[in-house]
Symmetry: C2
Subunit: 191 residues, 2 copies
DNA sequence: ACAACTTCTTAACCTAGATTAAGTGCTTGC
DNA sequence: GCAAGCACTTAATCTAGGTTAAGAAGTTGT
């Protein structure tokens, strides 16, 4: 239960009372694999923190092709930031890949917490900053690296995910088709 | 001078004293076109706010190819977030494309301001959130759209930039070579 | 225990966009 | 005013990665 408090304490120090208050604002749920906890077209109401299991966020374009935006396993936050912030219908799905225990923090509670515990505004600012830096790097990687290099980078960055998630999702994350990914993997194994 | 106060007031309301304090922490500089205000390998010390003119941030990969991460004109913030946050040498250059007046806010001053005016922590949190959402969208666009679609999206999103910046930089931003961009543009004009 | 589905692979063929190279106007500095 | 660079174009050729299609294993539900 307090994995989330641990996560916060890496960045800001909450007093016991503040921890109490924080815990009173969240909700924990269990989801089975294959559950869609958010659908495209819906308005996203929560920031999700993963206690255990694996989730992914993805969209589907006109051609009925999925594109994975993010994976999240224990200790990671995930959401549809666009929809959550704008309170407009988003175009992301969030799906459970592996049975998961997830902490839900509603937008209203999150904003109340910013006022009641300014340290949490700092926490989420820093979280968002780190996420932005990671997205900038991934963007530049997509512009300048080959699929092979992007795959190698993925492997060294998320070694645990490789064994756990279907490789078609990894292919989608790095931006290639499953067929090409398969071919590329075979080529790499020969070396 | 107060274009930056206007920019802040879109999101949070500062009192006259707070505005005074904020202004005492910033510095304004003029730069000629072609100036590199940040070099790859340096540690980024500032958040930059553009009063006038145009800047761009970009990196250079092994193949000596430039990739544009961002443009910034009046009313936009720009920086090397990775280097600024980690205080490690970055791999971004920031270059002046058109004579510019730029406001500099040092990392130390920015962090002091977070403590002295918590509203500014909120301001930068929201700024960063919006930037993250924009980067996520651009990432998904790069994964799922053709070069032509990305160009059309760029045009409708940044109509002013198209006339003002050399098209090779726009090509780089959307992720194609200048040669292909030229061919694509000719094709689009025929329609 | 079997049908239905999903994941992954292989292979032939295709194409968006890269590369190379050459040429045309421009600015810009001296 | 002219040489040296830029910025852009055009065109031929090339290739990383996509598409289509089919089959092999593995997984899931009943």
């Amino acid at each position: 239960m307090d994995r989330i408090l641990q996560n916060i304490s890496r960045i800001v120090a909450l007093t016991p009372q503040e921890q109490e208050l924080f815990l009173s604002k969240i909700e924990t749920r269990d989801y089975k694999a294959k559950t869609l906890i958010l659908n495209a077209g819906e308005i996203c109401q929560y920031s999700y923190f993963v206690n255990s299991g694996i989730l992914r966020s993805f969209n589907i374009n006109d051609n009925i092709v999925e594109h994975v935006l993010a994976f999240a396993c224990h200790g990671w936050w995930i959401s549809d930031m666009y929809s959550l912030l704008s309170q407009k219908p988003g175009n992301l799905f969030i799906e459970v890949l592996e049975d998961a225990e997830v902490v839900l923090l509603s937008k209203e509670n999150q904003e109340q917490l910013y006022l009641e515990i300014p340290k949490l505004e700092r926490f989420f600012r820093i979280l968002t900053e780190n996420s932005l830096v990671a997205h900038q790097e991934r963007l530049m990687d997509n512009l300048s690296l080959s699929a092979e290099d992007r795959f190698e980078k993925f492997c060294s960055k998320y070694p645990t995910l490789i064994q756990k998630v279907p490789q078609k999702h990894i292919a989608s994350y790095i931006g290639v088709t499953p067929e090409f990914f398969s071919k590329m993997k075979a080529r790499l194994l020969k070396k």
